[in-house]
């Protein structure tokens, strides 16, 4: 009946403790543009990694049919041989090599082990013409902008005789007109019979190019919509993306805004502007203003790449960005947050989204990590009092219910949830007034999440101000008194708990 190029049948993929994909189905017709949408963490990227062989055959359940034959990829080379090419969000180009060298990396035009440069350059020119990129093949990729690099990636896919092109949020980092060009290119490929899967958050792009849409939520395929058979509104897609059960996933707490007695303002940020640390002409944070009251949990919603982490880190001792401008008041007074020690002294704490890279010393013990940000409190004249230190870390271990026999356990041996509690211990011990929690429950199982939520609630009840950054909208809705919505480095809306909903947040983001 229909000409199906790819069918993924009831794909299930389990990571230790987490079911990332649960019987997901995906059908792509030959010569169509198929949009794959869903929230961050819904399982889109995992599905594509299964398809491209990053997770090899045998590590998942279910079948993949490509051109009506069952395929079993054991690596990315296998899938590329069949013509399935994936272009990741983070571009996989070598900046110090030329366009021509990048295009044929691992796929060189060789004769007896020697690269045929004339052939390489002439083929590069053909491919660049196809994607509409006017650059010399010998230009270094690092000298190109992100948009042009994206085109180089696509040209690289064409060099491998692509049948099915997968683009993972290709326009996330692109300017408006570059995005337009890219979408035109996809339509052109479609005319040539190349199918593509487009992962995106931008609904306007979907309505412009997509032939059909599959929505994934919480690791399961929710719906498949045919754009030609029915008229689809953005509201339909958003509802499918976010609709899920939220009962009992968040510990109960009296919300001060609803009770009508809000604490005094703890932190006030005004006209906060930050530029990219390397590309000085790129402004990452634009004129951000927000405030946090004592006893309040304030959420920052936004997609990945919207600048949430950049905002938090630029506030915390200018750990991100250059040319930072703006003013922060803590407890009404202008605060000097120019270095991390000063920020800590002023009463600010930042719990990073990347606990392994930025939050913990994995080789060290729970005790060492707990006191690291406030060693002076367990020492006199520079000499650490081991007994006090042990007592302090033991107290936090019990208070936060870190499941381990002793505080002398190395943190690398702990589970994600327990590691996160160690990071929280560290920042609680630095005695902050305002805590910025960046994705505090990332990579943590549901039970541990609930415990983390309870800890956050207790902090607010103790009169601290909490800023919570999260990609999971239900989490923000369940926890926060107030939510700021962020997109592309700007705050595009502010919602009180009473009127916040996932649909409203999503539409603020996609319509901004």
């Amino acid at each position: 009946m229909e000409n199906i190029i790819l069918e993924m049948r009831s794909i299930t993929k389990t990571f230790p403790g987490v079911k990332a994909l649960d019987a997901v189905n995906l059908k792509v017709r030959a010569g169509e543009i198929h949009a794959l949408v869903g929230e961050n963490g819904a399982g889109k990227s995992t599905l594509m990694k299964v398809l491209s062989g990053v997770y090899p055959y045998g590590s998942y359940e279910g079948d993949i049919l490509f051109n009506d034959e069952t395929v079993a990829f054991s690596g990315i080379t296998d899938s590329e041989e069949k013509g399935i090419i994936i272009i990741h969000q983070e571009l996989a180009l070598v900046p110090l090599l030329s366009i021509a060298e990048n295009l044929f990396l691992g796929n060189e035009n060789v004769e007896g082990g020697v690269i045929n440069w004339p052939k390489t350059y002439s083929r590069t020119q053909e491919l660049l013409a196809k994607v509409g990129l006017k650059e010399s093949p010998s230009t270094l990729v690092g000298q190109l902008g992100v948009g042009k690099q994206q085109l180089v990636e696509i040209a690289k896919a064409l060099a491998k005789d692509v049948k099915l092109l997968i683009l993972d949020e290709p326009t996330a980092a692109l300017q408006e007109n570059d995005s337009e060009k890219l979408l035109d290119l996809l339509l052109e490929f479609k005319a040539q019979g190349i199918s593509s899967i487009l992962i995106t958050h931008k609904l306007n792009e979907i309505s412009r190019v997509a032939d059909s849409i599959t929505v994934i939520r919480d690791g399961a395929s929710v719906s498949t919509l045919d754009c030609h058979a029915q008229s689809i509104s953005e509201a339909d897609i958003i509802r499918d993306m976010v609709g899920r059960d939220m009962a009992n996933r968040y510990p109960a707490r009296k919300h001060p805004t609803q009770e009508g007695h809000l604490g005094k303002t703890l932190m006030e940020v005004s006209r906060w502007n930050v530029w990219h640390p390397d590309a000085l002409d790129r402004q990452m944070i634009h004129d951000i203003e927000f405030n946090v009251h004592a006893g309040e949990i304030v959420g920052i919603a936004g997609l990945m790449g919207s600048g949430r982490t950049e905002l938090a880190m630029s506030l915390f001792g200018q750990s991100y960005g250059k040319n930072i401008q703006g003013e922060v008041r803590l407890r009404g007074e202008i605060a000097d947050l120019s270095t991390v020690p000063k920020a800590i002294k002023s009463g600010l704490a930042y719990v990073t989204e990347d606990r392994k890279e930025l939050g913990l010393i994995l080789e060290e013990t729970i005790q060492t990590n707990t006191t690291l940000a406030n060693l002076d409190r367990v020492s006199s004249n520079g000499v650490i009092d081991g007994n006090i230190e042990r007592q302090v870390s033991e107290d936090y271990r019990q208070a936060l219910n870190i499941r381990t026999p002793s505080v002398f356990q190395k943190v690398m041996n702990l589970s994600g949830g327990n590691q996160q509690k160690v990071v929280l211990s560290k920042w609680l011990y630095s005695q902050p007034d305002v805590l910025i929690l960046d994705e505090p429950t990332r990579g943590i199982d549901v039970g541990a999440k609930f415990e983390i939520y309870s800890i956050i609630n207790e902090l607010a009840d103790d009169g601290k101000g909490v800023v919570m950054i999260s990609s999971e909208m239900p989490e923000l809705l369940g926890m926060c008194d107030r939510i700021y919505v962020m997109n592309e480095g700007r705050f595009v809306g502010e919602l009180d708990k009473a009127d916040a909903s996932q649909e409203k947040i999503m539409s603020m983001i996609v319509k901004a």
Binding site: S319, V340, E357, L358, I361, E364, A373, P405, S406, S430
Partner: protein, 399 residues
């Protein structure tokens, strides 16, 4: 709940063998040192442990051990210092020129030389810490620069001999306050005191650990270990006392080992150096001034290299343009044999000292056996490789 978990740990306090197995990384190199010493003691028909040779062993290796202490901190911080041999040579030459050519008193020469070492280390540390230039490059440059400056300072000649007061840095011995002479009672008393102090400290920390229920070392193991350590120290000091007593250098070393062990275990600076080497980004985000710490680590290394250079020059009683040549390699090897991690964040002072002794005993033993310098190098290289493989193997097994 907590108590239950704690008690399971105490209950599972294992037999000596399983404890040793799980702590192979901690004791492996110490056992290796004892085995190597036993082997050479046997092969050399007892020459290795003769008081004269033992004294020589300490004198020969003191400067390596002193630099290994500084190098341990550098490597724990995640860097490397290739310049220490050249800096030691340069400072030795400077001391010779000041003492011999300008007749400056030792009391002036020594502090000035240590200060020069501190400044040299600080200069290198400045580029590494604040300009983020890789330590490998900066100290490689330093190695060439100070090798050249040594030649320039000495004008290509050896300068010596040093005045008697300067020679005492290396060849002096702690006088016998009890006036007996042989055996040197002071040496014996100091040996017994050191052994008692070590046993006392070990017992105190064990009793504390027991109080908190965090001790997994079997009691029999604890007794045997400390008895062996105490006997070894007292026996060594007895052996030394039958010759000329405790060398000044040994005392310097012991004091430095004690100070730096304390620094790494119990001070905020030490703790922060480990944090910096373990994860520099996390350390920075925890409010640690990583740049200043890196700078201080290199400045400290420079000063210890200067001290080593002085002792080396005093031992030879002359400053030669070749002094300190390739010494950095022995120092770095000692630290890695002692279990430090190339990627930073892991390593112990006592490990580096044991590593240096392993190298030293092998040098000494093979020389007594008359093994040529060619094969000595080969064997030392293989031991370094084997030690690191052993370490990596144990680490993987522990996972």
């Amino acid at each position: 709940m907590t108590t239950k978990e704690t008690s399971t740990v105490v209950q599972s306090a294992p037999s000596v063998t399983s404890y040793l197995k799980s702590h192979m990384r901690d004791y492996g190199m110490l056992i290796a040192l004892v085995v190597i010493m036993g082997m050479f003691q046997f092969l050399t028909d007892g020459t290795l442990m003769r008081p004269v040779n033992l004294t020589n062993l300490f004198l020969q290796n003191s400067y390596i051990i002193i630099m290994a202490i500084g190098m341990l901190l550098v490597i724990v911080a995640g860097h490397i210092d290739l310049s220490v041999g050249s800096v030691a040579g340069f400072v030795g030459a400077l001391a010779a020129v000041m003492s011999v050519n300008y007749d400056l008193p030792t009391i002036v020469v020594v502090p000035v030389c240590l200060l020069v070492g501190l400044i040299i280390g600080g200069l290198q540390g400045y580029w590494i810490a604040y300009w983020k230039i890789p330590a490998f490059i900066v100290t490689l440059a330093g190695m060439l620069v100070f090798r050249g400056l040594t030649l320039a300072l000495l004008e290509g000649q050896s300068v010596g001999p040093f005045p008697k007061s300067f020679q005492l840095l290396s060849t002096g011995f702690i006088p016998d306050v009890f006036g007996v002479g042989r055996p040197n009672v002071t040496a014996l008393v100091l040996g017994v005191l050191a052994a008692s102090a070590i046993v006392f400290l070990a017992a105190r920390s064990r009793s504390r650990a027991l109080k908190y229920g965090i001790q997994d070392e079997p009691f029999s193991f604890f007794i045997v270990k400390n008895a062996l350590v105490a006997i070894a120290i007292i026996y060594l000091s007895y052996l030394l006392s039958t010759y000329r007593g405790l060398p000044n250098v040994l005392m310097t070393m012991a004091v430095l080992i004690a100070i730096y062990t304390f620094l790494t275990n119990s001070t905020t600076i030490g703790r922060r150096i480990y944090a910096l080497g373990g994860n520099v980004k996390a350390a920075k985000l925890s409010g640690i001034n990583t740049e200043r710490l890196t700078f201080l680590t290199f400045a400290n290394m420079g000063m210890l290299a200067a001290l080593a250079g002085l002792i080396f020059a005093a031992r030879l009683n002359t400053a030669t343009p070749k002094a300190g040549f390739a010494m950095e390699l022995d120092v770095i090897a000692a630290v890695f044999i002692g279990g430090a991690s190339m990627s930073g964040g892991v390593g112990k002072i006592i490990g580096a000292v044991i590593g240096a002794f392993i190298m030293g005993v092998m040098n000494n033993g093979m020389s007594i056996l008359g093994i040529g310098i060619d094969w000595q190098q080969v064997i030392k290289g293989l031991v370094l490789l084997a030690a690191v493989i052993f370490d990596v193997y144990n680490k993987q097994k522990a996972r």
